[in-house]
């Protein structure tokens, strides 16, 4: 007789747990108050004044760009945390059997999903400014806007994840006379999670790509950096290109990580 051991689920495997823990640590550092917004981005090196691309200037912008990048990442992470949680409640609301709840939630989700985040950011900022006694930092407004915007996407991912669980699985649960709680927690959710995680990862990356829009509400991130350097030095090519480089520096590895995670936690279907 073989020794009996439980199936090691994806969340018990070191290859999943270690990166997740690392990410959480990195997250805490980034989100902590230690990471502050830069007020001005003034390059130490001036460009040579020609119209052509100045490599020296370009390279010297790098550390300055990183400071903007970190703020953009921070806003993304805070916003995404909000999105994950809020999205869950939106998904519950939309699935609800009560029309009075599910219908408005659906309408709100569709509305937010199909309008530009940029306009939403302006709207939230205007709303905050119009309301007595509330002041929010631009980065908070950015995180809020991102969070609400992507919560609607996350809620759809949750819904798709649950729907992706094969109908036969629910039927097997009924045939075994499992109760609703057991059916959800032991049968449906464990199978839905691997389907949801990659989508969430992709939305995290998408949120990061939208975060530079914060410049419109004055958050001092990656694009604000480029704008300021341009206004200061009247040179546009180098700051925007290096902003692009900084961007890919984060988004490409992140995309790669998400794809790996996706492979790790997927298992053979029956």
């Amino acid at each position: 007789m073989e020794e009996i051991h439980p199936h090691r689920r994806w969340y018990r495997r070191p290859s999943v747990v270690v990166p997740v823990v690392l990410v959480v640590i990195g997250y805490s550092i980034l989100v902590s108050p230690l990471v502050r917004e830069q007020n001005f981005f003034r390059p130490e090196v001036a460009a040579d004044g020609g119209v052509t691309f100045d490599w020296n200037f370009f390279v010297h912008l790098f550390p300055l760009m990183l400071q903007g990048l970190v703020v953009t990442v921070k806003a993304t992470l805070i916003g995404f945390l909000l999105a994950i949680v809020l999205g869950f409640f939106l998904a519950l609301g939309r699935r609800s059997k009560r029309r009075l709840l599910s219908w408005p939630v659906t309408a709100v989700i569709e509305f937010i999903r199909s309008t530009p985040l940029l306009v939403q950011l302006f709207f939230w900022q205007a709303l905050v400014r119009a309301s007595e006694g509330i002041t929010l930092e631009p980065i908070t407004i950015l995180a809020l806007g991102l969070g609400i915007h992507y919560a609607t996407y996350c809620s759809e991912a949750y819904r798709a994840g649950i729907n992706s669980v094969d109908k036969g699985q629910w039927e097997a649960a009924t045939a075994l006379n499992l109760g609703p709680v057991t059916s959800w927690t032991r049968v449906a959710i464990p199978q839905a999670v691997p389907n949801v995680l990659p989508a969430l990862g992709n939305y995290l990356i998408a949120g990061f790509k939208d975060a530079p829009m914060g410049v419109a509400v004055n958050a001092h991130g990656l694009l604000f950096f480029a704008d300021q350097v341009r206004n200061d030095t009247f040179r546009a090519t180098e700051p925007y290109l290096i902003a692009g480089v900084g961007f890919l520096l984060v988004s490409l590895p992140a995309a790669w990580l998400v794809r790996r995670l996706e492979k790790r936690i997927s298992y053979e279907r029956v």
Binding site: I4, P6, H7, L176, N177, L178, Y267
Partner: protein, 271 residues
Amino acid sequence: MSVSETTTARDISSKGAAGVRMRGVTKAFGQNVVLRDLDLEVAPGEKVVVIGPSGSGKTTILRTTMTLERIDAGTIEVGGRHLYHESVNGKLRPAREKHIREVRSDIGMVFQHFNLFPHMTALENIMLAPMKVHGKSRQEAQALGVELLDKVGLAHAVNQTPGQLSGGQKQRVAIARSLACEPKVMLFDEVTSALDPELVGEVLNVLRDIAEEGRTTMMLVTHEMGFAREMADRVLMFDGGQIIESGPPAEVLGSPQHERTKAFLGAVKSH
């Protein structure tokens, strides 16, 4: 068209078995009436094989008994208790979820496509219901699971996940999982038709074992006529949502009375 059938039901008085009684069961999907005013009695311990052409409602009759589809009219009794109804002050009322769940604990079903839980090992698949539904301890459930896997010839597969098993092995685990709930009525819906031809035998052997123990009432949809002939107490021929012929296998399969039965059997055997 419907043949009245109660006479051929053999009565096996076996402890713990339960019969099934359907009266006027009707089930429609939209315009498509799949079961028409169906009467059917299955005695406790009886082994009934259901045959019939595609779309005749064979699967539907099992699924309504398993409460996977609700019926539109009629009643179903399992082990003498109404499945979809409760009697309140002597009158039948639609049953509440709690009542349905209670009666359902007597019924088990095995599916064509196994429906094993892919994120659990074979053993965990079997242990889930005993622990969560019957309140067994982990030790008890484990002992039961190992015993059942032994019984279906898969002692070595305790730790394997469904993804690591062949089709025949998966189906045997699914049968063991169903047995773990100790159902009094077991429903089998074409449990071998998703398998490679050489793997069919191993699953039929397990079914044969269960049938030979004799305790459990079995309703089996299958196209394996040889197997039906050998183990069935009674064969029901379905067409258009009704039972058009019913009797011992030798009669129904050997000298069918009804034209459609002849045509169907001819089509299945002819090649």
